[in-house]
Amino acid sequence: MTTTSAATDTGPPARPASRRTGTLARREARLGILLVLPAVLVVFGLVIFPVLWNISMSFQRIRLIELREFNFLDFDYTLANFDRVMGVRDFWDNVRVTFIYTIGGTTLSIAMGMWAALTVKSAFRGRAVVRGLMLFPYVAPIIAAAFVWRVMLNPTFGIANEWLDAVGFQPIDFLGRRDFELNLFGWDPNPPLALLTVIAFEAWRYFPFAFLFILARLQALPAELDEAAKVDGATLSQRFFYVTLPQMRGVLSVLFLLRFIWTFNKFDDIFLLTGGGAGTKVITVAVIDWLRGRFDVGAAAALGLLLAAMLAVLLVIYFRWFYEEETA
């Protein structure tokens, strides 16, 4: 290492001055490629290439048992995988659940993050402790967070049902029941209990992420605008809605976009909380079901591709719409 760098150190001065800039730029370019190459190769080989290959596999008949003998260069393409995946009775149900989960989880976690940021914005005794505690749900390993929720909500020995029992309610299996029979004066909305619980988990786990961004933005806002509005007699809520909130649009839309994409692609949370049962099966969980439950690699690849395609379409729509609004 040291010898090679020493050799290149003495290199440049020996060359003619007129050609030096040209060779320097070229050498820099070569060095640049050399430096990024290992990282690029690893990411290409294990992220980009697999994604492309996934597209190919989704048109092939591949089962897990025949994986070792399967010839991947056999371009005998078929749409059978898509037929199989979309033909399942609960395919559209999974799509619907994915959207409810994503939109619900995203909006609630951002709203809660906003609330948390407003709560700790101004100083109070113990603020640093509260701020640190608020990061816990996001920092804790997903397996630990999901497991604690499962135990807390357990219908036989969970603390949540113990408290419900204390105020005279029947135990509720929050993560195991599809619908909750609720009757409010003849109107029975039957809320999807397990799905709502999972969304609540999402809000709890990811509000710290929104909180960090929003707090940073809130503290960077110029105080003059708020003070001017105060002098003009605007109340606290008016100042929030007409002065603060408009200035937060940038962060909020970035947060919404990021959280939407990540929640849409999320697998761990639902898999660990319910395993996809009780009306909470999102597409990602269904993909892994096809792979691990039915050993159908082709179908799993096809469903994965559909998931990515749906997200891509959504993003195109979002950017189109957003772009027009900005220029209008």
């Binding site: 090679t4 290149t8 820099e28 370019a29 060095l31 640049g32 490629i33 430096l35 990024v36 990282a39 690029v40 690893v42 990411v43 294990l46 992220v47 980009i48 697999p50 994604v51 290959w53 109070f124 509260v130 640190g132 505690l133 816990f136 749900p137 920092v139 804790a140 390993p141 397996i143 630990a144 497991f147 604690v148 929720w149 135990v151 807390m152 603390i159 408290w163 992420f209 960090l212 940073a216 605007a234 809520s237 008016q238 100042r239 002065v243 947060l255 994409i261 849409f264 692609n265 697998f267 761990d268 990602t284 993909v287 691990r292 690699v297 994965g304 998931l307 990515a308 997200l311 891509a312």
Partner: protein
């Protein structure tokens, strides 16, 4: 501006104006909110630690109790049980700790090294691939992990690299490089280039500049990135499930808790396992909280 017009003629109600009323209302709500957030964040943590010390019979008999008796706190029964090897009637978590540590440390080292070089080049040098890199990071962000997981699963089965920690390490390195590269690149861009140019003029090579000038200046950022990568690898679940599930000797901590969550294993014992996963992450995070939150937000506020 409409605001001012609306609020000017507010009539005092019961002696106070609307502005005063709101000040008082939100002043009170603030304390209610603080209590709310403290409870929802601290209680699960407290409950987790508390159950990890409670014998399962105590929990089943009296689910409402959330303080274990002094005897059970000092006996560490669940911890002994969860860590003891399977051959001695335990759950064998020491082995999972070892596996997880190997995976996370190897990933941290490899990712950080590769990302430092790539990020430096992307920040400072002019070459053709440069645009592709910043664009590529975004694309990787957008792809669902499950879509990448299926071909990798097939690939590693064919190469017989499934059920090996080395195979999984490579996957972790590939999936963490984009984030690490992005964070480091934005940090390198904040270092004034004049410092490096001075080094070059003084006769240092590019590698010399990286080692003597750039790395020492960005030590905190590199530490933050390394911690971040460590935490991602330590917490990872999906790939561990797909790659290691058939060989119990290779399980990571996350996989261990998930796989052993059955009727046979007491929940309190797994709670001890959860505490074991959580403690290092929390400790690392709070040791470096400022670096990490700054690193996190620096990534997003830009966009």
């Amino acid at each position: 501006m409409a605001v001012a017009q609306q609020t000017a003629p507010v009539t005092p109600k019961r002696g106070i104006t609307r502005a005063e009323f709101e000040e008082r209302l939100f002043g009170t709500l603030k304390w209610v909110s603080i209590v709310f957030f403290v409870v929802i964040t601290a209680f699960p943590l407290f409950y987790m630690i508390s159950l990890s010390f409670m014998p399962i019979q105590q929990l089943l008999q009296d689910p409402g109790r959330f303080l274990p008796s002094w005897d059970s706190i000092t006996s560490f029964e669940s911890y002994k049980d969860v860590l003891r090897p399977q051959s001695e009637g335990g759950q064998g978590f020491w082995r999972f700790v070892r596996n997880t540590l190997i995976l996370s440390l190897a990933t941290t080292f490899l990712t950080t090294t590769l990302a430092i070089f790539a990020a430096y080049a992307a920040a400072r040098l002019e070459f053709r691939l440069k645009k592709v890199i910043s664009w590529g990071i975004l694309v990787v962000y957008l792809f669902p992990a499950v879509v990448i997981a299926i071909p990798l699963f097939v690939m590693f089965t064919r190469l017989q690299l499934r059920n090996s920690l080395i195979g999984l390490t490579i996957v972790y390195v590939a999936s963490t490089i984009p984030v690490a590269l992005y964070m480091l690149r934005s940090y390198f861009l904040t270092i004034p280039p004049e410092l490096e140019e001075a080094g070059l003029i003084d006769g240092l090579s590019r590698f010399g500049v990286i080692r003597r000038i750039t790395l020492p200046l960005s030590a905190p950022a590199i530490a933050a990135v390394a911690l971040f990568v460590f935490m991602i690898a330590w917490n990872e679940f999906l790939f561990a499930l797909l790659f290691l599930v058939e060989d119990r000797g290779l399980w990571t901590l996350s996989l261990g808790v998930q796989q052993l969550d059955t009727q046979e294993v007491p929940k309190t014992v797994l709670m001890a396992g959860s505490v074991i996963i959580t403690i290092p992450v929390i400790a690392l995070f709070f040791a470096a909280e400022r670096f990490l939150t700054e690193g996190l937000t620096a990534g997003g506020v830009k966009g």
